[in-house]
Subunit: 180 residues, 10 copies
């Protein structure tokens, strides 16, 4: 299990890509080559009830994050076939444009410590990987507490600011534009 | 290292208690006996620069959290003697009233996976333990990205709400009073 | 991995039950208590293309098998939520009335040797467990060759006949009513 | 023990060849060199009662299978001397023209998981190896349930069809000539 | 592997019994209970060419040995079904009345060190077990050298004589009636 | 412990040579270089009572065996000094002309499985090694049953015959000149 | 743990340097390169009560020791930030000019056997390393017994004298100028 | 090897007792029973040159230490016979009245980490054990630097003072009568 | 291997007893029960040339030793049969009356460290065991240096004297009657 | 522990040399280079009572042994300083001219099996090493039985005689000039 501050080993994942309505693959290596950040957004299961609100909330900020150089991938242990079916039948997800990753073996969920061996599902975990491949932030909520995409955006901005201003620090509640 | 969803083994820690200006001890067991929640708030080191803003921010919400049944303990690997000296010389900390925990052996920091073996300091990690002793939330930021105490309060409210409404779920960005 | 002729250890599985349109659990123990036979019918994934024809074919013979004292459970590594969604949107499945088992951890698929560690999916395997809990028949096809439910019925009849006529044998192509 | 989907290691076996009334050897390697399929047809013992009907049934389809590029070898743990004696005294076997393999050490039976350590005999198992040496189908019946050679022919046709139409799939009960 | 002078652990073996033309079992324990001697006479395989002359030669002395309190069992790794078939079709064996033991797992052949792991057949070994269950004589010939049943009878007589005259010794070439 | 059918590792042994009344050494290697057979004839101890009759009996056939290309060496765990003393004081041994091997460490007796760890003596074992160094025959009698040198000669003749007629077999009781 | 008479492996430590009021690093290697002696002066914790008197006492002799070619470094498991704060607020320390070493991981304290695993603090240990890197003197007092800097100076003089007069010895209570 | 702060396991040692000019034994257990302190004073070897000055210096303070409840035992790896001879021929030792311990096996020297495996001699180490059997002070000098008995007396006084005033501390250079 | 000063475990040995011209057994236990001493006198082999002079020399003192309460047993790795033959044919041994021990397995020779694994013979070793079963003296000569029985008698007398005068010592060359 | 007949590994030892009244070293290697024999003469301790008579007795024969090419070294676990003191104060030792070896670590005493782990002293053992470095004789007496230097001289003469007459043997009690 990778801890904050460690380098993340390369991984590859099948995805359903709503933007092109097609299947594909993403790999950490490819994202790092383009010097982008990666946010992995794990959730328990497709076709359940809390999850779509989190994904919909995240979908609202996807454009903004993309512009900041951040790729976002949602991940559950469902297959890509199921992602396609869910995305295209569940109304709440109609704005979702980020790739939906499939981790049926649980390999990637285990790598980030969010695989629940009992149920075969992933906990609600968010992980921020910087363009050097280092895990710089993690957040995990046990089951049904939803995440806040705005807070994620705030943290991404602080991280990106610090990357180009390494001798500074972003104090508590720092918002872009504040001086550090 | 404990993962979200697991029971936290009992631990004991020396603290400096600003409220009474005295030294003491806290133990998980004692807090659970009173059916309270515990938030552990790790940070790297006393007498440095980012850290006091995070602690000051947290201090602003301590009363509110206490009323919700939540104990908050800040933790670094400094000794209780150092906590006393810092609290009483650093202006920014004058509102800090929560116990300041001392973890000079790094035992508790290691338990939560935030001990940096290279430097002997703790990463910025926040951990939420429910009254059953289960770790229900974690957040870790690599070095200098400050945390947001308001978001912590939001998550605490959601957790507490779910504890008494186990069949519901708090969707993304849920705020107290919203229906789930 | 269990081999033909060995006793199958007890297992439990979450299911979506189309007959009652509800979620539930089945366990081997419960089925054996009623002295019934169990046929496990593994397939790779919901929301794909070959699989529904196999399930539909099987659905045609479910009534007959039930009358013979045989319970049938289809199994994939998808969740019960996905089974529900698929059963109720895929036309080909509208006659499916047998419980659809969810094995997202792959625990049961591994027990019968049909879990593909590479993809996290199950191979097309059919397994017959007699009322004493002994595995008496297995059939596994690599990926896309569909099974024949009629041949399954023929084998079930032969097995049931032999259970009550232990000193006889059912020759090749034996059909019910033939003398052994 | 080899599972469906795995490559079969090379093996060699002594055979009695009824076609030439002579002893010889067959090896997987030789069959794969000619790009042929191999069906191994295990049964418990010569000079017993169920077995000849299965072998006779299989003998009826040997010509057809051969034309499809499939070699068939029956296997028991008896010696080749015993095969010769049985083939030439048992009336039911007079049409048997496929090589009868001898596995007195049980080495090959163990490789396919059908060796019964208690009795030293092989279970009734059928195994299909494709021209790439991959095990693509298995079927095992506990003791006295006879197999159906027609079903074997059906599966062979589906397998062969899929080999040259890799992007298709043969649905349940598929028969040659049907569209997939 | 048991050596001369050691106690033989109990074993059980299926046999074809030509005297009653039926199948049965023999166990060392049963023979020792009746205070009889046991001669095990291993040979490679039924339906081959040297072997029947050895068995026929032995058959000539079976009556005499029985009267001396000696049971004789021939053993190969063939099944009891094959023994029956061979005994009843091979002319040379028509006088064979001793039980023909079946050791298809090779367990008993291994116990006496005559199992050839390469071929799955037994070497030509003769073993004499006294009424106390001790192995008192062994003789093994590599493949095709036939044994001499008369010499076996001579050795049995010497062994039996010494059993009741423990302080004497039977010199070389001793024949019954000679003084020791 | 070497089994029939295995290659015998080289060994060397001190001997008393009655033919030249001198001490010397023999090694398996030297005997095989001359393409001769070797018979090792173990017995428990010098200066005891059964043993000289066996050695005397063997002495009668030594000339004949030598002419057939067979070397014979008797072996006990006594020293060569004791062999000399015994040979020259015991009347029964006056015709003994074969080398008398000394195995005081028991190394060679252990190699052939006839060393009795309890007493430090060798059992009565006869071993035939062919000119390729392969053990082709063994015979072991527990303590006081004497061996028959004529039967040894018969077996040697059969072995030698088969060596030059590899495709034949010597049936039971075969005597030189008989057709196989 | 290093014992007197052994070579000390290289180590590096962060320090607060009161002389320049800045942070820096010292390493054993650098000190040995200049052929200087090193005294490590461990104490439990900053901001406590006994410790400053020891450090103040040592500060009185720092100049003298420096002239003798001796570097002195005080060490506790506090961070360099804490050293700076303490040195600049505690009156008793105002004459302290030697580097104050920070060992928050306890790595160096463990190397010299003074780390208390229970508390995470260092015992009061003084260690003398000669210019060859050999540990030539140790003194450890359990908790609250203060050390005597004059005695340290006496021992340093004796050590330095002996380094240049290797064939002599400094008797008990030896003071510089005394003949040995 | 025992470290400061640990309990010392019991040990026993042969001594030459100059006070009574006789041989005897001392054990830690006996000293602790009388609630006395024990100082062990190791030195390399009898009949050498530095050592007697240290022992003579210590002898001067023996009376004073005894009155304080402290037993002193000098220890080398020489035998008690050698201690007797040395004490009675070496003028410098004529005032020595403390027991001279013999540690020819090096067992006790090893226990305190002062045994030099190369030479079989003990380093110059002084160890203070309190009446509870805890090692509270250690001092080791590499070879030829003599110790200072007055400093030992000072440390003993401070230790004894702290034993009865556990909440105080003796600052640096503390002398009896000073306030802590 | 037993060393001087250790207790000798019990052992038993077959002997030829010249005094009664019969075979028997001796055990250490029996000798110790009668509070006698035991001298074991090992030599390489019977029927060789040095050995009889040592045994003859020892025979001259056997009466005297017996009267002192000492049993003497000579030991080689030859059998008791060989001892009988040698004693009764070798003139030099005609006065030998002590038991001649047989150690063909080398077990007892190994116990005393005189077994030569290369040759299977014992070195010339003399061992003195006191009535408490303690090995109190050993002497071993490499191969051909003969021992001196008179010196053995001298040492036995000194040992016996010291057994009853435990506080004395027998100086060098001590002879009975001398004062110690 | 080295046994008679084995090669002795090189060793080095500090000695007090009475002949030159100085300290030095001897090594086995140096003695073997000069093709000399070495006698090691172990005894328990200096300044005790039996030991000087043995050393005095040995001193009487030192000249004679030296002329025969034999070096003699006495050894105890005392230091060379103690040897000097003893030799020069004990009257009985005034004729001792052989080097007195110091083995305070017990390393050499252990090599020859005479180190008593309980007391740290050496047993009374004499060891003869020939010019090839082979241990050819050993003698060990438990504690207080003194050795006989004349017998040592006798054995040395026999050993030296045999070295140049390898085919002979020195019978019991052999004295120089006797024929073997």
């Amino acid at each position: 299990m990778i801890r904050v501050g460690q380098k993340v080993p390369n991984f590859e994942m099948e995805v359903y890509n709503p933007a092109t309505n097609s299947f594909g693959k993403i790999s950490l290596e490819d994202i790092l080559k383009e010097r982008r950040w990666l946010v992995l957004f794990f959730y328990p299961a497709d076709f359940t009830f809390v999850c779509p609100t989190e994904l919909a909330d995240l979908a609202e900020h996807y454009e903004e994050l993309k512009k900041m150089g951040v790729e976002v991938v949602s991940v559950s242990t469902d297959t890509k076939y199921v992602h396609l079916a869910w995305r295209n039948t569940e109304k709440l997800l109609e704005k979702v444009m980020f790739p939906m990753g499939a981790d049926p073996t649980g390999k990637i969920s285990r790598m980030f410590g969010v695989y629940d061996e009992e149920t075969g599902l992933a906990l609600r975990g968010t992980f921020i990987i910087n363009p050097d491949g280092v895990l710089v932030g993690s957040e995990v909520n046990f089951y049904n507490v939803g995440r806040n995409a705005e807070e994620l955006v705030r943290k991404m901005k602080a991280n990106i600011y610090l990357m180009s201003h390494p001798d500074e620090a972003c104090p508590a509640k720092w918002q872009e534009g504040q001086k550090t």
